[in-house]
């Protein structure tokens, strides 16, 4: 594969393919069940696409998965059971929300950890900057400006 093709492939892959997705013949008669199916479809990845869920994808594999989801739902599975069933067959890669496991601890905990570290930093800055030594006096520049304004107002009055 030469570079040109690679770039073309990259650009194509970055553009989600238009169209299709859920087709009418897949839709379940029970609207509640169908809504659940759509919800589940949105958290499952189309395995042959790049960052697309099976709900949006028009790939054959995605359709098969959508039908599988609906089949499990009609047999009475809960949402979690359906997702677990599919995860057991296709691995964690199929989940758009990665599971919380040792490999993803860093991913899941990073935002909170950063917030915590940043928060401690902010508190540190606030204590250093403010603390008990509250600055409510004017600095020299401001004193000068105030003096100028007062002086000019005096002049106006005169």
């Amino acid at each position: 594969m030469n570079w040109k093709n690679l770039v073309a492939a990259a650009i194509l892959a970055t553009l989600p393919f238009a169209a299709g997705a859920v087709e009418p013949d897949e839709v379940l008669d029970d609207p509640v069940l169908e809504a659940r199916a759509r919800g589940i479809s949105k958290v499952l990845r189309c395995l042959v696409c790049r960052s697309e869920n099976i709900d949006n994808s028009n790939a054959g594999v995605a359709r098969d998965l959508r039908l599988l989801v609906r089949e499990r739902l009609t047999t009475g599975d809960t949402d979690e059971e359906v997702i677990d069933y599919i995860r057991a067959r296709f691995g964690d890669y199929v989940l758009l929300k990665p599971p919380f496991k040792p490999e993803t601890y860093v991913l899941w905990l990073a935002p909170a950890a950063l917030m915590l570290i940043g928060g401690i930093g902010v508190i540190g800055i606030l204590r250093k900057s403010g603390g008990t030594k509250v600055v409510n006096e004017l600095d020299d520049d401001e004193k000068r400006i105030v003096a100028e304004i007062l002086a000019s107002e005096k002049k106006e009055r005169v």
Partner: protein, 666 residues
């Protein structure tokens, strides 16, 4: 001959960039004014030369010169003229040329309009800008020549990817690049300040307009991309948390933080080293975005290894730029003293929290985007990080930020009486709660988070407007006095109000269109009627139409409401024979209340198509128009702020503030 001229101009531009990299910097170190001021000529020379090169490439596209490989691969003689022009930046080579052109525009912009900037700082800034320019021009010339010829020339070209043949997407890259590359000049200012060892209020004020320009363009670029995805992809979604979207969103988030922290540096002389760090990181994220999209890394980790020449070159540039600037930062920044003391309840503190939340949000998006790549490269383990992850992590960070946005503008510098602020906002808080409950009462369905978000958006809207009325003392004083006050208010202040209100408005759109959309996917035959959100949509059939470089199946939908005709929609499915691909063109009826959105999928099935049955997807997305309206308001707010008199003429004299200024490290 003309393509060769273009290539030659690029080589000359590289020479100019090389001179500019060294001479002004040396001049600034030795106090040689002539050398410093050479940056002006070389910046303009770069702009002219790269401009010539860009025009040469554009000409090749316009006249369909199929002796140029780039044109063959990305154009076709039948392609409409607009997309021939847009084809100039449709390819890897062309988009890089656009990248360096914008880099040169910003460099020349500082050289021409930065007359109030001291010579030494300007010389150093332009030299740093030339370093970036040198890196990318050599990348272009060595690995991605946009003017490569092909022999024998083919009769016609391969056409541009049809998805890209669209006005929205044709304009998307220039705006996005203006944003990305606009942060380069802020970066150059930051590095120059580090070299000088001096950051003060004046510095922050010089940097502010450039940050604003970059931020506005990036906002416009992202909004346009989002709008394009909305109408072109046929799903009715406007944000997919796709890595390509994320890499443009990260510099936006951090750039927003930069915009706010620079205000503190300008007004209070505080947060100096933090502002510098943000400037460096924002541009680094822009570079990362360029690198990630251009290297093929997103397709797969392995794709990168197949032909690593270009990827490694950009990776090298990235490492030098980010590594070098951060090392310089680590070395020089500690010497910068923060000025301006403040208490924990003050505008400074509020903006500090704003920055904390924005930086954390950026890091979250960064982790979500890169983690799967890193994990696969390190352990071979494949995971997916998609919208559910980002919704679970990003939104909880952003909502408190929006709450803070309502309070922040009420805080005054240095110290604030929190009680007074609460007294002013108490009433609004009650109003927000009531509005949230009212929404729930009317709509019922939908997730709790949606009601919470609506309430918070209302909060932001009311608090922002309240702050504005407090400033002009609306109703407290005679109307004429209020108008006078509004006129005297700095434009930047109106700009803030406008931009914050814009975000509140956009939030209504985000929530409305995701939480309360309705959808029908059905087989239709001529005469079928679909009911959705109070509309009756009648399918009248499909006919074949012919465009310049495509053929299309065009459906006709007659929309009525309670028997009254509303509109006719024509969704299309286009087929591009040369590019061998298809696109959907959705038909949308946009109103303030919501969009009726129709897209046509393939004929239902082979047997059914004989009877004229098609798959039709109809969506009703409430308030989606608010997203675009809010985005435009945010951009307009930035523009108002940019037009502030203080930024245009208020050349701040450095001497006044020099007491607060950081002492040079030397």
């Amino acid at each position: 001959m003309i393509p060769e001229t273009g290539q030659f101009a690029l080589a000359l531009a590289l020479a100019a960039a090389l001179v500019q990299s060294i001479l002004p910097m040396l001049g600034a170190a030795r106090g040689n004014l002539l050398w410093m001021r050479s940056a002006r000529s070389s910046s303009i020379a770069q702009l002219v030369l790269i401009g010539i090169s860009f025009v040469a490439l554009m000409r090749s596209f316009v006249v369909s010169d199929f002796t140029v490989l780039n044109v063959v691969e990305n154009s076709n003689s039948l392609k409409p003229m607009l997309f021939k022009v847009a084809g100039t930046w449709g390819s890897h080579e062309g988009s890089l040329l656009l990248w360096v052109l914008i880099l040169a525009i910003f460099g020349a912009g500082v050289a021409l309009f930065g007359s109030n900037i001291p010579d030494a700082l300007k010389a150093r800034t332009l030299s740093v800008q030339a370093w970036i320019s040198t890196g990318f021009l050599s990348f272009l010339l060595l690995t991605s020549n946009p003017f490569a010829r092909v022999f024998p020339p083919p009769l016609d070209g391969n056409d541009l990817n049809p998805l890209l043949q669209d006005l929205g997407l044709a304009m998307h890259p220039p705006l996005l690049y203006f944003g990305y590359v606009g942060f380069s000049i802020v970066f150059s200012f930051a590095v120059a300040a580090l070299i000088e060892g001096r950051v003060d209020a004046a510095w922050a004020r010089w940097v502010r307009p450039w940050t604003l320009v970059a931020w506005m363009s990036l906002t416009a670029g992202i909004a346009l991309g989002s709008w394009w995805a909305y109408y072109e992809l046929g799903w009715g979604g406007w944000w997919f948390w796709d890595p390509v979207e994320n890499v443009s969103f990260m510099p936006w988030l951090l750039g927003t933080a930069l915009l706010h922290s620079a205000i503190v540096t300008e007004k209070r002389g505080a947060f100096k080293s933090w502002t510098i760090l943000l400037a460096i990181l924002t541009f680094s994220l822009s570079l990362l975005g360029t690198f990630i999209v251009r290297s093929g890394l997103l397709t797969s980790v392995h794709a990168f290894a197949v032909d690593p020449e270009r990827g490694l070159y950009i990776l090298g540039l990235l490492a030098i730029t980010i590594g070098g600037s951060l090392t310089l930062y680590a070395w020089r920044a500690p010497a910068m003293e923060g000025g301006g003391l403040f208490t924990p309840i003050s505008r400074e503190a509020g903006l500090l929290v704003n920055n904390l939340l924005l930086a954390t949000a950026t890091a979250t998006v960064l982790f979500g985007t890169l983690y799967p790549l890193v994990l696969e490269a390190v352990t071979g383990d494949k995971i997916s990080v998609g919208p559910p992850f980002f919704n679970a992590t990003f939104i909880p960070i952003m909502l408190p930020l929006v709450v803070m946005m309502g309070i922040g503008p009420f805080l005054s510098w240095k110290r604030t009486d929190l009680k007074g602020v609460f007294q002013r906002l108490r009433f609004l808080a009650v109003l927000m709660g009531l509005a949230g409950l009212a929404t729930w009462y009317v709509l019922r369905g939908g997730p709790v988070l949606a009601y919470l978000s609506v309430a918070i958006a209302i909060w932001l809207l009311l608090a922002t407007l309240r702050e504005w009325t407090v400033r002009i003392r609306l109703l407290d004083v005679p109307m004429s006095e209020s108008i006078r006050r509004a006129r005297n208010l700095p434009r930047a202040s109106h700009g803030m109000t406008m931009a914050h209100v814009g975000l509140a408005i956009a939030m209504f759109g985000f929530v409305g269109s995701s939480a309360w959309k309705s959808e029908e996917i059905v087989f239709v035959q001529p005469g079928s009627i679909i009911e959705i959100a109070g509309f009756d949509v009648r399918f009248d059939g499909v006919e074949q139409v012919r465009g310049p470089n495509y053929v299309a199946d065009r459906g006709t939908l007659t929309v009525s409401r309670e028997g009254e005709f509303v509109t006719t929609l024509y969704p299309e499915r286009r087929s591009y024979p040369v590019a061998q691909s298809r696109t959907t063109e959705s038909a949308i009826r946009s109103t303030l209340a919501g969009d009726l959105y129709a897209s046509l999928a393939e004929p239902a099935s082979e047997t059914a198509s004989d009877q004229g049955a098609w798959t039709l997807r109809i969506l009703y997305e409430p308030l989606v128009f608010f997203i675009w309206m809010g985005s435009i308001m945010m951009i307009f707010g930035g523009g108002l702020s940019l037009s502030d008199r203080r930024l245009r003429v208020g050349a701040p004299r450095r001497a006044i503030k020099s007491k607060i200024a950081a002492t040079p490290a030397e």
